[in-house]
Amino acid sequence: MGKTVLICDDVEEIRMLLSMAIEPYEDFQVVGEAADGNEAVAKCRELAPDVVLLDVNMPHKSGLQALAEIRDVVPLAKVIMFTGFESSVLGSAASDLGADDYIEKGTPLDEIVRRIRAVVAS
């Protein structure tokens, strides 16, 4: 069984397309989706994923706010921030809060998969 992945983004189409991009690879298995920060934390508690792909800009609780809680709930999970902001702006904040990597929206799907794999291997 591959590494389990939780996809957190408030746009259903993005969750679906990310899932479609990741699922063909046997070393990953998408186990759940979350549409806001609160749901992301709850799904982490329920599913204990190996990898959390976490959108920064989500309603109710932002990805950065959720990140701190996710770190407590699943300390061993690899968390990759998925962001529409410039990575230079987000980078230090995300790193300070314990993100393993951050990927800008617009990154090609195969590159996203490559980055997830690199984080898992690290």
């Binding site: 189409e13 991009a21 800009n57 529409g84 929206k105 617009g106 799907l109």
Partner: protein, 188 residues
């Protein structure tokens, strides 16, 4: 009308009707004259300003202002449309924003006082904040839809590409319209 009385009437009219706060301070930094708008901003009656320094009238505000006034009296450059610090005097609405200008008053080449002009820019600041918030929301929509379009393109889902691009275009159009309308309101 004699020139002196004409000038005096002009100054009276300015202090009565100018839509900004006005203050004249002498070389000892004591208020010589203020208008009602400035008195309202300071939360102190007009008469209670006269013969007193800003430190005595509005202590919290004066800490930032008096060094500037002294610098102007000593020959420094005027201050033009500087944004006021937010720690405004007691009794003031903390959500108000002010812009300050200070100019030297000279007689025979000697600086004998300072003219202060205080402009309430709250409406402008709030409008700019609203535009920023609106821009952030629309920016997010544009990024989201472009992300969907890019991912769908990679997956060969042409109809999803088209609909996402259309939504991104509509969002961007709304943003530009909002900015242009706001600018036209402000300038017009």
């Amino acid at each position: 009308m004699e020139p002196g009385s004409w000038e005096s009437a002009l100054i009276d009219a300015l202090f009565a009707h100018a839509p900004v706060g006005l203050a004249v301070l002498d070389a000892d930094l004591k208020y010589v004259r203020v208008n009602q708008i400035l008195a309202d901003i300071n939360g102190v009656p007009m008469d209670s300003h006269i013969g007193r320094t800003p430190t005595e009238v509005v202590p919290q505000f004066a800490g930032a202002v008096e060094p500037v006034l002294r610098s102007i009296l000593a020959g420094g450059d005027p201050i033009i449309r500087a944004e006021a610090p937010q720690d405004m005097p007691d009794g003031q609405d903390p959500d108000h924003f002010y812009e300050l200008s200070f100019y030297p008053i000279e007689r025979d080449g000697t600086r004998i006082g300072v003219l202060g002009i205080v402009n309430d820019i709250t409406e402008r600041v709030m409008a700019e904040e609203e535009i920023k918030a609106q821009a952030a929301t629309v920016y997010k929509e544009v990024v989201q839809n472009l992300t969907v379009a890019q991912m769908a393109l990679e997956k060969g889902d042409q109809s999803r590409v088209a609909s996402a691009l259309e939504r991104a275009f509509t969002s961007a159009k709304h943003l530009v319209s909002a900015v242009l309308l706001r600018r036209s309101d402000r300038d017009g």
